[in-house]
């Protein structure tokens, strides 16, 4: 039998999803061998995540956003043509024609052409620096404009307009939003919600102009352009983004005679079939019951329906979808559920408006008060998950619905509806259509944490909005199956990290083998060995390369450098506080030059030398140690850097000597192993140039002493530290830090940063204050003594190592030859050396140890 040819026009989010569904549906059977699939895109790249598009401005690259790649398509036999627009559909001959003249015949044709931004017909709208906000190319052009602009305007105050506004803020422009309607986000929000959103946006410096119709864009006096409004007012700007809505990209279908809706959109039925035989339409170009769905979740549903239909399953149908949304716009939480404009007859509402905290919540309920019709939340969207489930599952409201939006006080019983109350059909993840039942099934099949759940169901891997709810369902399911949510470190020890730390401390255990005999089984593994090595180091601060410890250390600790992707290591000398003499800098430069090491200033305000081979490390470190440098412990779960500003020594605003104090602190805690790495920041005044609030320990100088912040974090989940205590003297500060640091070492989980530890600490920062300041556990004397002993036992591991010929034996690539690793290859870029491995693996940071 000859293969069925499927042609997919458009490789956007939905076109790709359809292809992926085809591949996944057939996995394990005969693959796609019965099909020949070819897809065309007008864009220059394969599908990427448009939903996350704005992250482009916070550093994501086109690669990060991509949803697929050449390999995946090649492996599955999918053909694709980029940069080629399909310009004609010939139903009689069952083929399509592209702009480049290519003709492809089809058995099934899928139109996934998406939509295009509507640009209002304002004279002057087609000049340079006038943009739309839809593709990566658009964002690149906006960034380019940003470089030569001071002021930017977004025309359109809807959801996308606000996102575009955020982009302009990120580019550092004075930002204005111009909206024709009398309020922002008119589709999703009611009047009260729109008004509060506006106030919040204005507070962050974005100027909002509502009720303005732009009549023309002409040359400006102070800026590049001047926009004139119908009411006679005007606004000057250098760059403009149009975000006045989207229109279905239906031109191709229209020209070929397929049924099109009155206001555009390719008409489809419940199987997403169009009026032409064997032709489907899905995604934002499709019109279902006179409705265009401008969100991915419903569009993904359509993709699924069509893949199933082509595979012969006609049971699955598209039956509409929910348009609820929850977003963070310009840092403000906004959510809208169901119908919010009072169109439902007899509907009544509850409103909660807190002008002080700037929270607005409105609940719209049916005439009999039993069902939820819609809801608007601004400023506090915690109730979203609960409300959405009530709406989606058409559940009966609790007796006192107002409690759903009133702030909950601790004494009252929580009104949040427990996940147990949800029916199995409840949709938990709408991006991937995962129901509560699906999660239960996954758990029954052995999935026991979020990682497993994500890989087996894909839940929470799209927009991520459902993650908290998915976790709740998972935990409740595990609990109901009688699983204790286990905290064992691995199969070799039935103890948590904290318990192991207690055993080691109380029984004064000094080696892994003793611990294993006392309370473990098997040989150990890559999880427990480094964790135990780390605890041993935290309590006894032995040299980490003692024979007993060598086999326990991860490669980074084992060779005292961070392994890079090609197997070479990085070299980071400690530069306390970031202060370095010219001579010191010269030595680092000379060493880097001699060993041809790639040199970079790190995000931690010191210098990293990359590309050192195992056999080169001792010679490199000898040079550095001789010049007075010590190891920077960039490889250890230990103190990393104490970042400081110059403070009162130079800065005209500095009120304390931040740099001097930072250097003291760095020298005090250097080398100390802890459950995860620890960073400090010290700022000389409240301008906070050292970004101290983003560090584990943050110090800010005031006229009255130091303010100590604790639990800050950059990285994957940035968090500002909580203010622990104010107006501290140097001495008080050191004492508190000693105690908190050791208390963290005693009780945290493996690889748990202080931020997460603090968040999981029952009683939070207040409990911590009670322990540290009031000594409520009566352990402070012990904690201080432990810290003192650690400080006394400090050694520079590199110095110890280069002085011991036995230890140096391991710093060779081969045990039986002096040759270097022949597998290494380098290339030169920007006058420095880089590895040329094929290895472009992207790894999940959470899996790192």
């Amino acid at each position: 039998m000859s293969k069925q040819r499927i042609v997919v026009v458009g490789n956007g989010m939905v076109g790709h999803k359809f292809i992926d569904n085809l591949i996944q549906d057939k996995k394990g059977n005969d693959g796609l061998s019965n099909y020949e699939v070819i897809t065309f895109s007008e864009e220059s790249r394969l599908a990427y995540d448009r939903v996350q598009l704005s992250y482009f401005f916070s550093g994501k690259t086109a690669d990060d956003l991509s949803l697929t790649d050449d390999n995946y398509y090649h492996e599955n036999g999918i053909k694709f043509v980029l940069n080629d627009k399909v310009v004609e559909l010939d139903f009689a001959n069952k083929h399509i024609i592209t702009a480049s003249g290519r003709i492809e015949s089809y058995d099934k044709l899928v139109l996934a052409t998406g939509s295009f931004p509507f640009v209002p017909p304002i004279p002057g709208n087609d000049q340079a620096h006038c943009h739309v906000y839809r593709t990566i190319d658009d964002l690149e052009a906006i960034t380019e404009s940003g470089k030569t602009s001071k002021v930017g305007v977004v025309i359109g105050g809807g959801l996308l307009g606000l996102e575009a506004g955020n982009a302009l803020v990120n580019l550092g422009l004075e930002t204005h939003i111009v909206e024709f309607a009398p309020r922002l986000m008119a589709v999703q929000l009611d009047e009260g919600g729109g008004a509060l959103l506006r106030r919040k946006i204005e507070e962050i410096g974005v100027k909002v102009h509502t009720g303005k119709a732009t009549t023309e864009i002409i040359a400006g006096e102070f800026c590049r352009y001047r926009m004139n409004f119908a009411d006679g007012s005007f606004l000057e700007t250098d760059t403009i983004i149009f975000s006045a809505g989207i229109r279905p990209q239906d031109e191709l279908a229209r020209l070929s005679g397929i049924d099109i809706g009155e206001r555009g959109g390719i008409v489809i039925n419940n199987h997403c079939q169009t009026s032409a035989d064997n032709v489907y339409a899905i995604g934002e170009c499709a019109l279902w019951e006179n409705f265009i769905f401008g969100l991915v979740a419903p569009s993904y549903q359509m993709a699924k329906v069509v893949a199933a239909h082509i595979n012969g399953n006609t049971d699955l149908a598209f039956t509409g979808a929910d348009m609820s949304t929850k977003l963070k716009l310009l840092g403000i939480d906004v959510a809208s559920i169901g119908e919010v404009h009072g169109k439902t007859e007899g509907a009544q509402s509850y409103t909660y408006h807190d002008e002080i905290e700037q929270v607005y919540k409105r609940l719209i309920v049916s005439q009999d008060g039993k069902k939820l019709v819609g809801a608007v939340l601004v400023g506090d969207v915690d109730a979203y998950g609960t409300l959405l489930q009530l709406k989606l599952n058409d559940m009966v409201l609790p007796d006192n619905p107002s409690a759903l939006i009133l702030p909950s006080s601790d004494d009252e019983q929580s009104t949040g509806l427990g996940v147990d109350a949800l029916p199995d059909t409840a949709a938990i993840c709408s991006c991937f259509d995962v129901s509560k039942g699906d999660i239960k099934q996954a758990v029954a099949a052995g999935c026991c944490n979020m990682g497993d759940l994500k890989s087996s169901t894909k839940a929470a891997t799209g927009c991520g909005g459902c993650a908290p709810l998915a976790k709740q369902v998972l935990d409740s399911e595990l609990a109901s199956l009688g699983f204790e949510v286990k905290n064992d470190i691995c199969e070799h020890f039935a103890y948590s990290r904290q318990q192991l730390a207690d055993i080691i401390r109380v029984k004064k255990i000094k080696t892994f083998s003793v611990l294993l005999t006392e309370c473990g089984s098997g040989l150990g593994c890559e999880i427990c060995k480094p964790a135990v090595a780390n605890i041993l180091a935290s309590y006894w601060n032995d040299y980490v390369l003692e024979d007993e410890h060598v086999g326990l250390q991860d490669t980074n600790d084992n060779y005292l450098g961070n392994m890079q992707k090609d197997g070479t290591y990085s070299v980071v000398p400690r530069i306390p506080g970031g202060e370095i003499t010219p001579d010191g800098l010269i030595v680092i430069g000379q060493v880097a030059k001699e060993f041809d090491l790639y040199t970079k200033i790190t995000g931690g305000a010191r210098v990293d030398l990359f590309g050192a081979q195992l056999n080169e490390l001792p010679a490199i470190w000898k040079r550095l140690v001789d010049a007075g440098f010590e190891t920077g412990h960039a490889y250890g779960k230990s103190l990393r850097t104490v970042k400081a500003c110059v403070g009162s020594t130079w800065c005209r605003y500095g009120v304390k000597n931040s740099i001097g104090f930072a250097i003291d602190l760095e020298n005090r805690y250097k080398g100390l192993r802890s459950p995860h790495k620890v960073k400090f920041g010290v700022s000389g005044c409240t301008r906070e140039c050292a970004e101290a609030q983003g560090k584990d320990f943050g110090l800010i100088a005031t006229d009255n002493g130091w303010n100590l912040f604790f639990g800050g974090n950059g990285g994957m989940r940035p968090r500002h530290g909580d203010l622990f205590a104010s107006d501290l003297t140097d001495e008080q500060l050191r004492t508190y830090v000693d105690r908190i640091y050791m208390f963290y070492i005693r009780t945290a989980d493996r690889l748990q940063r202080t931020s997460v530890w603090l968040e999981n600490l029952e009683g939070g920062i207040e409990y911590l204050r009670d322990v540290i300041i009031n000594d409520s556990l009566n352990i402070n004397a012990e904690l201080e003594a432990e810290m003192e002993s650690n400080i006394e036992n400090y050694q520079c591991e590199w110095k110890t190592t280069i002085e011991d010929p036995e230890k140096l034996k391991r710093f060779k690539h081969y045990i039986n030859s002096h040759e270097a690793d022949a597998g290494l290859e380098f290339k030169v870029e920007r006058e420095q050396r880089f590895p040329t491995t094929k290895n472009d693996n992207k790894i999940h940071i959470t899996e790192l140890v």
């Binding site: 890559e526 490669t555 039986n816």
Partner: protein, 117 residues
Amino acid sequence: MMENNLNNTTWTDICTLSDLTPNAGVCALFNKQQVAIFLCKQTDNVYAVANFDPFGEANVLSRGLIGSTEDITYVASPLYKQRFNLSTGECLDSSEHRLKTFNVRIESNQVQLKEAS
């Protein structure tokens, strides 16, 4: 070093037992190949597998950690942590790759390697 010992039936001296690090690995050059040799003190076994990590695509496996799960003794790659059975070379986390293994023994304090037949 014996340069071209492609004879599969003879053992080649590599280093002395004391050159190995207990409960860790070293890399040896053998028949122009990089071989990772591990001495597991706890079970008194030596193992030899290819040093090339097929996932990370670098010569680093000798620098991985030894671990066990049930009865299997494995090495976890220092790059992305995939685990390989030290006796069979099988990857425990994916069927995509398998390491070549070598015969290894200790004869009067000498560590010796031989191509697996």
